[in-house]
Symmetry: C2
Subunit: 229 residues, 2 copies
Amino acid sequence: MVEQSSKITLKEVPLFSELSVDDFRQITALSNLIKVKKNDFIFHEGDEFKGLFIVLKGSVKIYKISREGKEYILHFITPPNVFGDVPLFTGGDCPADVQALEDSILLFVPKNEFLNLLANNSKLSLKIMTGFAYRLKSLSVKAAELSLSEVINRLAGYLINEIEKSGTANMLEPHIKLSISIATLASYLGTISESISRAMKKLRDNKIIRMHGKTIFIEDFNKLKNLAR
Amino acid sequence: MVEQSSKITLKEVPLFSELSVDDFRQITALSNLIKVKKNDFIFHEGDEFKGLFIVLKGSVKIYKISREGKEYILHFITPPNVFGDVPLFTGGDCPADVQALEDSILLFVPKNEFLNLLANNSKLSLKIMTGFAYRLKSLSVKAAELSLSEVINRLAGYLINEIEKSGTANMLEPHIKLSISIATLASYLGTISESISRAMKKLRDNKIIRMHGKTIFIEDFNKLKNLAR
DNA sequence: ATTATATACTGACTTAAGTCATTGTCATTT
DNA sequence: AAATGACAATGACTTAAGTCAGTATATAAT
């Protein structure tokens, strides 16, 4: 998920690919590039909402934090995707925390600029709607899995997804490189690192996966799919 | 949540309130009214996606079901709201199950009709985006709560929300009428009816709520808020 | 009113997964 | 090569919440 970290130029941001020359000039004039280091916070839940961000390089996590400090990661955002767009429409303050998972470059677009752009650009609207729709779909699955599936099933689901993104799904031995720590993966799957360790061990013991460092080889894709439902 | 079941006419559907006379005529010509009885299924996960629905009267639940038959309710939809709009943008089949919670009247709009309408109507786009944004926000909270909070905290959060919707939040004793069964509420909160019964009992024992049949009176709003975080 | 059927509540028990503490394994620096 | 620090794995134990079974209380039907 974090591997595609090559830098993207503004013109390559799909969200902006259909803008008129004038609109594009306006956006570049009013937006600004923000460089953040690994673990830097972009904003916190409850902060005043000022505008949206596009990830050009690196990756960030969008997450909620409990009173006791436990975190649940809603989304990982990688280039060339957007975050901080929801409050454009709902109003209110920042609804979650955002932190950089690695050194990253973001483009910040002030909310009013973006809304003006949106009013006159149906293609931009369609992109926002489509992005929202995909996120709703993935969040729906995540929420349902938290309620209906056990840790090992959620882990299996995550691995299947990553395999599909990796393009190795049809190879003899599909594989992925884990680009995040076990603890981060645990936060994303709504559990703790120990439970992920134990679930991974079960998958290894049952000859469903094999691990070489951070690389996970899928030895039995069917069994894994079956676990993921 | 289900109490506002008075029937809404097509002109009163906010989604359509800004349509031109021509567009409105077109929509009414190509859409159709569907009457469903309590417990009727509107569609199932995996069914071919044909278009979206607007709830004019009654209410439906959007839910996912596990292999073992346990259900998790993602949303309740009441008038004048929409469902089945996500696949318009993501493509693919119906992503969840939908069942009527009571006798209901729905308006069905075929997907291509709606997409045509959308292409020439920026106000309609804005409404869709806003609806998506609110749903993303509420689903984010639901998912995070499943991971970070216990049953009693999620129940407290639900009660707070219902109280706020009821308009009795500032009365001496805020109250709501539970319009759904304990089992349905449990599915919405990602648990089972027994656990909701026990959580309710705890709230009663601690003098946070009092119950008269289906009506719940909040005796200590602050304590309830504190439980909900 | 009386029975029937749903829904809700309660207790006893089990289990998945969390907590805590310890040890093991890397990767980086000196 | 040794040492440091971060991350990962494992074992022992606890706990929230699930399962199962039985009872009580509604709501509806005769």
